[in-house]
């Protein structure tokens, strides 16, 4: 067996984290992107800049600030504490929140672009055919923005897989709960266990490549049938 039990656990945690984060990213990012693409508010560009901002901080530093915020003395942690809730730092839930926060720009931006490219005409046609705004969104905007959703999901998922700094900071690298593959590889490298690092990296690459192939391949066949 090339992979230790701990590595496999980390892999499992990673997939769970990436999958869950991607779903949440899409759920939160889609309405934001839709609003950004359709709004004519003068100060929209302010929000656009804000969405891209988490990108510019190194992940470890971002993680550090998230840690401060989530910690018992931080605003979020304090609030949760006073409500009698469990603190989020060093829990899987905390990781999901951190990943969502950090990967948001990668999901919002492709979606916003895809939505911007949908002509008003198509939405108007749908309206005259009796489709409510929500119906229009799901029956016209979403299918037309499909390439945007694929890009958003791939970037969001892959980025969470490779995500590292934030998770390291607010997760605490606790095996079985917050230790993800990227950290496990990093640990192997740090501990000079290069061959384990190689195997784990190769495994992660293979797995990701196969997943990406499936996503793009299925998409290709689907679009191909249309043309």
């Amino acid at each position: 067996m090339i992979f230790s039990e701990q590595d496999l656990t980390a892999l499992f945690v990673t997939l769970k984290l990436a999958g869950l984060s991607t779903i949440i990213l899409l759920l939160i990012g889609t309405p934001i992107a839709w609003w950004l693409s359709r709004s004519r508010w003068r100060f929209k560009f302010f929000i656009e800049a804000l969405v891209a901002l988490p990108l510019v901080l190194p992940p470890t530093v971002l993680g550090f600030y998230l840690l401060l915020a989530l910690g018992p003395n931080g605003p979020i942690g304090g609030l949760m504490d006073s409500l009698g809730w469990q603190p989020l730092a060093f829990t899987f839930t905390g990781l999901v929140i951190g990943s969502v926060f950090y990967s948001m720009p990668f999901v919002v931006q492709p979606l916003q672009n895809a939505f911007s490219n949908i002509s008003n005409r198509s939405l108007e046609v749908a309206a005259t055919l009796g489709a409510s705004p929500l119906d229009r969104f799901f029956s016209v905007a979403v299918p037309m923005a499909k390439p945007g959703f694929i890009t958003a999901s791939v970037l969001g998922f892959a980025h969470t897989l490779g995500e590292f700094g934030v998770v390291l900071m607010i997760g605490g690298n606790i095996p079985g709960s917050t230790q993800v593959v990227s950290i496990a590889i990093y640990d192997h490298v740090e501990a000079l266990q290069y061959s384990q690092a190689h195997w784990l990296s190769a495994g992660l690459l293979m797995l990701s490549f196969v997943m990406l192939l499936i996503v793009y391949g299925v998409n290709r066949r689907f679009s191909g049938a249309q043309k």
Partner: protein
């Protein structure tokens, strides 16, 4: 059975793995290791990370934790003392006297960042005491920690580096490449200290095991003093 959550400096993670294995043989507790940089562990601990014991790469951070009342009072102790070597994977690069440092036929010299790593600080002291700290500035590359410094050298990108003795010695005490061990007089001892963060029986048992002769033997085997 309790899990003992241990935050441990990356450079000590191999050694503590073996210690934990031995410890678990005679105990029904389980040791859960979280290796990483000590600066990060410190930040996490003061923000409520659920660690029971902290094995730091230096003495400063455990001391601060103790002063701030986060760690158990009087639990701090030195579990290992690191040895510094100048190393090259090339078997005839480093001479036994370390004269190579005065020559100018090497490219980059890797050291750990003196601000972050006790090994880096020690390396700086050695170079200062040799009077070549300033003159080597332009050839120096800094790793964030001692592991990264080792990678700079072992990958061949830096010709020489100040690394930990533990990194270059294997289980049979054979050293690949060439090295020079600077005399202790050139740098302050690299004391790696640990503190207890929670007053748990299990954690105290682990610490007791580390302090025991059996534990110390394992540590010595990995190249610490």
């Amino acid at each position: 059975t309790d899990d003992i959550k241990v935050a441990v400096a990356s450079n000590f993670s191999s050694a503590i793995k073996e210690i934990a294995r031995e410890f678990e043989v005679n105990s029904d507790h389980r040791v859960v290791l979280s290796p990483g940089s000590s600066g990060r562990h410190y930040a996490q601990i003061i923000n409520g990370a659920p660690f029971d014991v902290f094995f730091s790469a230096d003495s400063e951070r455990p001391q601060r934790l103790e002063e701030e009342g986060v760690a158990m009072a009087h639990s701090r102790f030195t579990y290992a003392v690191g040895k510094l070597v100048v190393w090259s994977p090339n078997s005839d690069k480093v001479d036994a006297k370390g004269k190579v440092l005065n020559s100018d036929d090497f490219g980059y010299l890797a050291i750990a960042n003196p601000r972050l790593s006790p090994y880096g600080r020690a390396a700086k002291q050695v170079l200062q005491n040799l009077g070549i700290w300033e003159s080597l500035q332009s050839q120096m590359v800094r790793g964030e920690n001692i592991a990264q410094t080792f990678q700079f050298v072992s990958s061949g990108n830096a010709a020489l580096g100040f690394v930990a003795y533990t990194q270059v010695v294997d289980a049979n005490a054979i050293i690949k490449g060439s090295f020079w061990e600077p005399p202790q007089s050139l740098y302050q001892p690299i004391a790696q200290q640990a503190v207890l963060l929670k007053r748990s029986e299990a954690a105290q048992a682990l610490i007791a095991f580390v302090k025991s002769q059996e534990g110390q033997n394992i540590i010595a085997k990995y190249g610490y003093k």
